[in-house]
């Protein structure tokens, strides 16, 4: 299968000479098309930094990131916007919707920017909204709807361009458990029905249990990796918890 994302020896260091923080330290990973991958880890383990590097928000210190075979670390700054526009979709913890636009306008923004045929915009927006269950609120403003609805609007915006890769940073972080569940089911559906490739950063085992594969990060490196395979979600959830327990303390120090 085609590799949607390939990371080779990625390093991202912060700070000054005397005080270096190795946020991502020599990390390599591959994500295939149609995968739904979660990255887990304690705070400070480098999850968000990794995501920021992939989304070209942050520059890498060294290493390579290939999206659909193209090395994005080699892209010049002025080409980055175009790259993001055509290849990436984003879902953030705090939604990142524009307050001045309605839900419909927020979703259509991604299309307009990509210079989609104006006549098709409205239809596409309604279609996707219907699938994600937010058709009724299309004409409302972000501050008039609930957090779950906002996040599904962000999903719609991320999905509408059929990007190669959807990046989600703690998408359930600001949601209650019911909305979280609905959102995760939506994302699962996006993955199943539209074959969307999703990379999600989370520290919540429940969220991670919706994925097909979970990577565990510690000190900027991949510590462990488990696959769901044919297991039920409950079994997978328990397995994730087991790994997390291990992750919590250093094995060597528990002798």
């Amino acid at each position: 299968m085609q590799k949607t994302l390939e990371i080779k020896n990625l390093k991202k260091y912060y700070g000054t000479k005397s005080n270096i923080t190795k946020a991502v330290n020599d990390l390599s990973l591959e994500v295939e098309e149609g995968e739904f991958v979660a990255i887990m880890g304690a705070s400070g383990s480098g999850k968000t930094t990794l995501l920021n590097c992939i989304s070209t928000i942050d520059e890498v210190t060294s290493g390579h990131i290939f999206v659909d075979g193209k090395d994005i670390t080699e892209l010049r700054e002025k080409d980055l916007a175009g790259f993001r526009r055509e290849n990436l979709g984003f879902i953030f913890q705090d939604f990142n919707l524009l307050d001045t636009l309605t839900i419909a306008e927020n979703i259509s923004l991604a299309l307009i920017i990509n210079k989609e045929d104006v006549n098709k915009v409205d239809k596409k927006v309604v279609d996707i909204a219907e699938k994600l269950g937010i058709k009724d609120i299309l004409n409302k403003y972000p501050y008039e709807v609930s957090g779950g609805q906002k996040q599904r609007c962000a999903c719609a915006r991320a999905l509408i361009n059929t990007p190669k890769l959807i990046l989600a940073d703690e998408p359930t972080g600001a949601l209650d458990s019911k909305s979280s569940r609905m959102l995760l089911e939506t994302m699962d559906e996006m993955n199943e029905k539209f074959n969307a490739t999703i990379l999600m950063v989370t520290h919540d085992s429940f969220s991670a249990s919706f994925c097909k594969r979970v990577l565990f990060l510690k000190d900027g490196k991949i510590f462990n990796e488990i696959r769901r395979g044919e297991k039920s979600r409950k079994e997978f959830f328990n397995e994730i918890l087991d790994v997390l327990t291990l992750l919590g303390g250093d094995v060597a120090s528990v002798k």
Binding site: L80, N96, L101, L109, A110, I113
Partner: protein
Amino acid sequence: MSSKLAFRNVKRSLKDYVIYIVTVVMAFSLIFAFNFVSFSSDILELSDMMTNLKYAIIFVSCIIVFVIAWLINYTMKFMFSKRSKEFGTYMLLGIEKKDINRMFLIENMVLGFFSFFFSFFFGIVLGNIISAIVMQLFEMPYQINLSITLAPVLLSTLYFILIYLFTLFRSSRRMKKMKIHDLLYLEKKNEEKIWKRKKNRNILFIIFVILGILGLYFCDYAFVISNDPRMLSYLGISILLLIISLYGITFTLGDFILAFINKRKKIKYKNDNLFVVKNFEAKSRTIGFTLGTLSLLITLTLVCMNMSFIMKDAFENNIEQQAPYDILVEGMYSDVEESWTGKQDNRKKAWEYIDYIHENYEIDDELYYQILTQHNHQVAKYIKDIGNNGLYDYDTYLKVSDYNKLLEMLGAEPIELSDDEYFVTGDKTVQKYLDEIAQEKADIIINGKRLSLKSTTMENFRLGWSTGNSFLIVVPDSIAKNMQVVTELYVFDTKEETTEKDNSKLEQLGYYEFKDGDAYFAYFPVTVRGYYESSNRTAMTIFSFSLLYVSIIFITVVGTILSIQTLSDSTKNKYQYQLLKKLGVEDRGIYKTIRKQVTCNFLFPAIYPIIISVVTSYSINRLFYAVTSASMNYFTSIIITILIFAIIYGIYYIATYMTFKNNIEE
């Protein structure tokens, strides 16, 4: 696409832009109003010299353009930081940076033009008010004038374009430097410390205070030696020292206070002191430069406004001193100038001149009088630097009947003097000597008769009475015998007010050809009130209004920036205040803390400037003391200045506090 988004944003985020619009409208209304006045034909026709107002206002406008550009740049930076996350999202979605930049520029230009358009209307109204005030000064009727001349419009537009070119350029550079990461996380970013080392700051604070004291001392010394050419260099050093000290103290005061409070636990842990002081210290360290500039602007505001009042008083007083009567003719005759051979001839000519005035003007009241002397120094000996204070170094007398008539013509109460009394009247320069005389109650002897001092006064004294002497001794008519004539004068009170034209006519007539061998010209010095009124009021308008223009614009700038500064804090501090609330602080306590914080923000940049302006106004007063009216002293003028400043500043303070409170409550 970007223009469509820009227009949408303008429409939708108009509420956020209120501060911006109010700022631009106010600034440009003022610029337009003052330009409108300086080009108004009504004002220009007031006097020949009034064209200078135009140049003064243009000159001042050049300085103001810089300050306004700084202000608008600051406001734009504030709007930019407020919307950084939005821009970040645009970039994340794949909009090119140059498109976002263009959108922001279009937004600002739309708002700018919109505000500029409005400021024309406010400017005309404001301009009319200012014109009315000027016309009132000249005692002329004023009619509302809504017509617009081209020149001020073009000039204001030019200023507008210059300011916007600068700010849009700055803004687009700011945007170019920004990375998507910075934009998305700008809100969470702390401001960078300007001053990293902490150790020596307390010592530095003391050094800056000493520099400030030195600056004030040099300033005072410069005015003490005001006739010396070194004065300018002293003044220059003083200004430099004061500027360094202003910035330096702003940078270091926060830490100094913190260090002071850290050592005193009673103050430190009392109420919310720690919270407020910490906030304040962070402020002075991060935006010290901005605060320093604000302090500088406040200092300039206070000094300019104070000067404006002093100038106004000085010019008004000058009219009363130099030209108390409609027409004053002097130098008709003198006994004391022995070298003057043609004086009898001159006297004859002078009477012909007086006759001419009688024929050509309708006279309400008049007086012919003489200033007399016996070359004594009975009073003059008290006046130490007499050479500086008058033409003659001996006692000069005036008959009490003449004195009372002169007072009556001015509408003042006459004095009563018995046969064995004398009275001294003088101007402000000899005040302290008059006080000495009053204390000693020295008797004087004239023609063998002893006279005792009735009293002395500075009220009502006019320089015009005695051709430049700073004091006169008023004696009973019966005593004034066997005296030499120092000078002869003739004053008229005409029915109609005199004008500038009367002055040139009478001045020309005053010349006559005096044949003594070679051709030789002589003239009677004539003082026409109309001319003095016109020239002094013109000068007053030019100086006072230019200074007032500067100071009002500066207050506006300072108020707006402080308000923006404090309000941008309010969004950042929201979490802190919510935390305080969660920790159990009541609403009332929170309001109190907010009030303290806002008060600190507003008071901090104003205190040192107030100290500087009070001290410098004392120094400046050394120069203006002699020319201002008796009721004017440096203290009243600076108090009025500070009051006016406080009122305008207070409006900003209250508006900021209310908005701050709303922001936190939201």
